[in-house]
């Protein structure tokens, strides 16, 4: 999402503060030198003293680009920010979005949800479940090359053997 372009002597210090990953595809260029701007991107030119402010702006940009999912329950309909959803799971042919304490039925197929949230750090862990990586509390290795994901709401989701490899690659384990 972001690319950091700063002189070498400043790079490590600013990268350490902003925690900007090395992204190949990006929309925003962060730089302290206006000569380094890229005309086809959105450029943010900042002074080194304002690194903390840039960090907060980056947070807002990330959050502002969130995807909303429409879910239903006995109360009614709600648009849910995807970052609040812990995981999606198929129960009785329904796709359920599980939040901290409430659950919503999503009127989409799981592969459609997966496609929609492809860039939003959701990852498929089994034929029946799609998990928000940010909402994983702890990973417990199990026998038979499986992983048990302990979610922050206390639920457990199993990483299927078929998805084990891709899950590890995503986390760069």
């Amino acid at each position: 999402m972001f690319k950091l372009k700063v002189p070498k002597k400043q790079r490590d210090k600013i990268r350490d503060k902003l925690k900007v990953p090395n992204a190949i595809e990006y929309d925003y260029v962060l730089t302290t030198d206006k000569d380094l701007i890229e005309t086809d991107k959105i450029n943010i030119v900042f002074d080194e003293d304002n690194v903390d402010k840039i960090g907060r702006i980056m947070d807002l940009l990330v959050k502002g680009e969130d995807v909303y999912i429409t879910g239903y329950n006995e109360v009614g309909q709600k648009n849910i920010e995807s970052r609040y959803i812990h995981y999606f799971i198929i129960e009785d042919d329904d796709v359920i979005a599980v939040l901290n304490k409430v659950r919503f039925v999503v009127k989409m197929k799981l592969y459609e949800v997966e496609s929609l949230l492809e860039d939003k750090y959701f990852i498929r862990v089994s034929k029946y479940a799609l998990v928000n990586i940010n909402r994983i509390d702890y990973i417990k290795p199990a026998l038979n090359s499986k992983l048990i994901l302990l979610m922050k709401n206390g639920d457990e989701v199993e990483v299927n053997r078929h998805y084990y490899k891709s899950f590890k690659e995503t986390l760069n384990i």
Binding site: K19, G55, D59, I133, Y138, I173
Partner: protein, 645 residues
């Protein structure tokens, strides 16, 4: 190397256990590997989430620490359980078991007998530590009268010998022998005199022997037929026999405090012949009291081979009280007023290693100190204290009115020593661990207030002085000004010591054995100076042996009369007799030592050497049955002599 051989032996003898242990090792490695993987995967997750969710937040180190704890806590708990099981702390794990029944004794015997019978290398190593050509026994008991067979109450001199008790009237040269008491000693087979006490109107005689009857004669070689006799006479015109107490077992030691007499004996246990046969018993004027099991105590970890009886006799009321320790035969006994301390070796066996087949059990050597005291006039068990290391037989244990000081040697290193200072309740006042004497072993130690003189087995520079005035910063100094310090040291006054050691003296016939007697100035305790010395070539007098450098008993130091008196015993001569002699030295700060007198007679056997007494400015020397009386001014000729036979 020993540990490695034990491990090899273990591998050969325990194929099944080895297999299980190998599998357990692999399982342990697998679990640790899994724990590492689990930790790593969660660390990576946390880093990844940090990138995604909150770009300005650093990885949460606290969170990672919690995860680490969660993963490794079970491993740590298992490790700690193993540690506690295999390596119990020797300082705080102690027991004194009060027995209830014969089954208790049998089970202790059964449990420990096998272990100790396998304890070959450990026992021999401990004995090796104590073996030396120097001091064998240098127990120092300050302010306590030494046990001996010659005593005076100011009116009479009492001398105990194998034929009985002789009462001598001092200075009555015409008729010095007041009384000869042979009853009841003639009824005791092979009576051996041991100790004599005078308390008020009571004269207490202690000796050993066997009961002179036919049934006992059949098993005279058996140690269990030896009895200790305590005979009390009333001091009157006829010296009436009042009480006779008989305790089974060999006499060990005795101590009198006020009207309480404590007598310790030891006899071995023959479990196979039934415990009733071995149980200690006291015969009081013909009435036999057998020990009850609740009066028997076992010091855990000691070798259960003998019963040590402690008999308390109230000399006023003639009542008795007996306690028994089931223990090894290597106990050292110390007294301080009404307290009695037993110091023995106690092994802490590592129970967890018992599942393995080993040639010897794995154990840690400790020293157990057990205290009995007279409480409200009655002897009772008080406390047992365990400390690290082995207390060497030849190393001083010092009991004062306030504290016990002793040095132990670490069994595993054989050169590291620990100095313990305990109060009389056996609470540790100070302890100094890991004293290193340049790799040497301590063979004797002498305590002077906050200073300790350690004498090691080094040929040169064998004296070390410890100053623990400030217990937090004790200093240990190797004294280089004195090349070889004396092996026995006694305090002459506050700033002077007298020391004695064996030495080699050049004579016309080449080097001969001799004694070197030294007077040290210890005004500065850290820098003792030998201000005078005198050598005595024992061979010049036809003597070739003296116990003086080994034990303090034949060593009389009269500060009041400036006299040093040494007893000298010789080897057997051609006629089968053994020479005995006494050397009397005048001690002077100006001129050192001057030999005053040399006396010798023929004697058939060597007796306890303490047979000299200074009384009313007269010196009484008893050579077996001859009494020689000197004035303190003239030691050349006795003013009179007589035979007590």
């Amino acid at each position: 190397m020993d540990t490695f051989l034990i491990f090899l032996e273990f591998l050969l003898n325990n194929a099944l256990i080895v297999t299980v242990m190998t599998l357990a090792t692999f399982l342990t490695f697998y679990l640790i590997h899994r724990a590492y993987k689990e930790l790593r995967i969660n660390y990576k997750l946390r880093r990844f989430q940090n990138h995604l969710r909150n770009l300005t937040t650093k990885p949460n180190q606290k969170r990672i620490a919690v995860i680490s704890l969660r993963v490794f806590a079970p491993v740590v708990i298992v490790f700690l359980i193993l540690q506690v099981t295999l390596m119990p702390s020797p300082e705080y794990d102690y027991h004194m078991t009060q027995l209830d029944s014969a089954q208790d004794i049998e089970s202790i015997h059964e449990y420990y007998h096998q272990k100790f019978s396998m304890q070959i290398s450990l026992r021999s190593a401990a004995q090796e530590v104590g073996s030396t050509t120097l001091a064998e026994d240098s127990i120092q008991i300050s302010a306590e009268p030494m046990m001996d067979t010659l005593k005076s109450d100011g009116e009479f001199i009492y001398y105990l010998h194998e034929n009985g008790l002789t009462v001598i009237t001092p200075e009555d040269s015409t008729n010095p022998v007041n009384h000869k008491i042979t009853e009841p000693f003639i009824d005791i087979l092979d009576f051996s005199p041991k100790a004599l006490y005078v308390e008020g109107s009571n004269i207490v005689v202690i000796g050993t022997g066997s009961q002179n009857n036919v049934s006992m004669l059949e098993d005279l070689d058996d140690d269990n037929d030896i009895n200790t006799y305590i005979v009390i006479f009333e001091k009157n015109e006829t010296f009436t026999l009042e009480n006779t107490y008989i305790v089974n077992g060999e006499f060990l030691d005795a101590h009198k405090h006020d009207a309480n007499l404590l007598v310790t004996t030891e006899h071995s246990i023959i479990v196979d012949e039934g415990l009733d046969y071995s149980l200690p018993e006291v015969e009081n004027n013909g009435l036999v009291h057998k020990t009850v099991y609740s009066d028997i105590y076992y010091i855990e970890g000691t070798k259960p081979e003998v019963f040590i009886s402690i008999l308390q006799i109230d000399l006023d009321n003639k009542t008795t009280n007996q306690k028994v320790i089931y223990s090894d035969s290597e106990n050292r006994i110390l007294f301080s007023e009404g307290d009695i301390f037993f110091v023995s070796e106690s092994l802490l066996f590592y129970e967890a290693t018992e599942m393995f087949i080993m040639s010897e059990p794995i154990a840690r050597v400790r020293t157990a100190i057990t205290k009995f005291s007279i409480d409200n006039g009655e002897l009772s068990y008080d406390i047992t204290k365990l400390i690290n290391g082995t207390s060497l037989d030849n190393v001083s244990i010092d009991v004062t009115l306030n504290e016990i000081r002793l040095i132990t040697i670490d069994h595993s290193s054989n050169t590291k020593h620990h100095l313990y200072v305990l109060d009389l309740y056996l609470e540790t006042k100070h302890v100094i661990y890991d004293l290193d004497f340049n790799g040497a072993k301590v063979i004797a130690s002498t305590y002077f207030g906050p200073h300790v003189y350690f004498i090691t087995d080094q040929v040169e520079n064998n004296l070390y002085v410890m100053d623990y005035t400030d217990i937090n910063t004790p200093t240990l100094t190797n004294v280089s000004t004195i090349k070889q310090f004396s092996s026995v040291v006694a305090q002459y006054d506050e700033s002077h010591l007298i020391g004695i050691k064996y030495t080699s003296i050049n004579s016309n016939n080449g080097p001969v054995d001799g004694l070197r007697i030294s007077l040290y100035d210890v005004t500065n305790p850290l820098e003792p100076v030998e201000i005078f010395f005198e050598t005595v070539a024992l061979s010049d007098f036809g003597y070739n042996l003296s116990d003086v450098p080994k034990t303090q008993k034949p060593f009389i130091l009269s500060v009041e009369h400036n006299k040093l008196i040494l007893s000298i015993n010789t080897g057997e001569n051609t006629s089968g007799n053994i020479q005995e002699a006494v050397l009397v030295f005048d001690v002077s700060y100006n001129s050192g030592f001057t030999v005053s007198s040399i006396e010798s007679v023929q004697a058939p056997i060597v007796y306890d050497a303490n047979r000299v007494i200074i009384l009313d400015n007269h010196l009484y020397i008893i050579f077996y049955d001859d009494v020689h009386v000197f004035t303190l001014e003239n030691f050349i000729n006795p003013i009179y002599q007589f035979n007590i036979e």
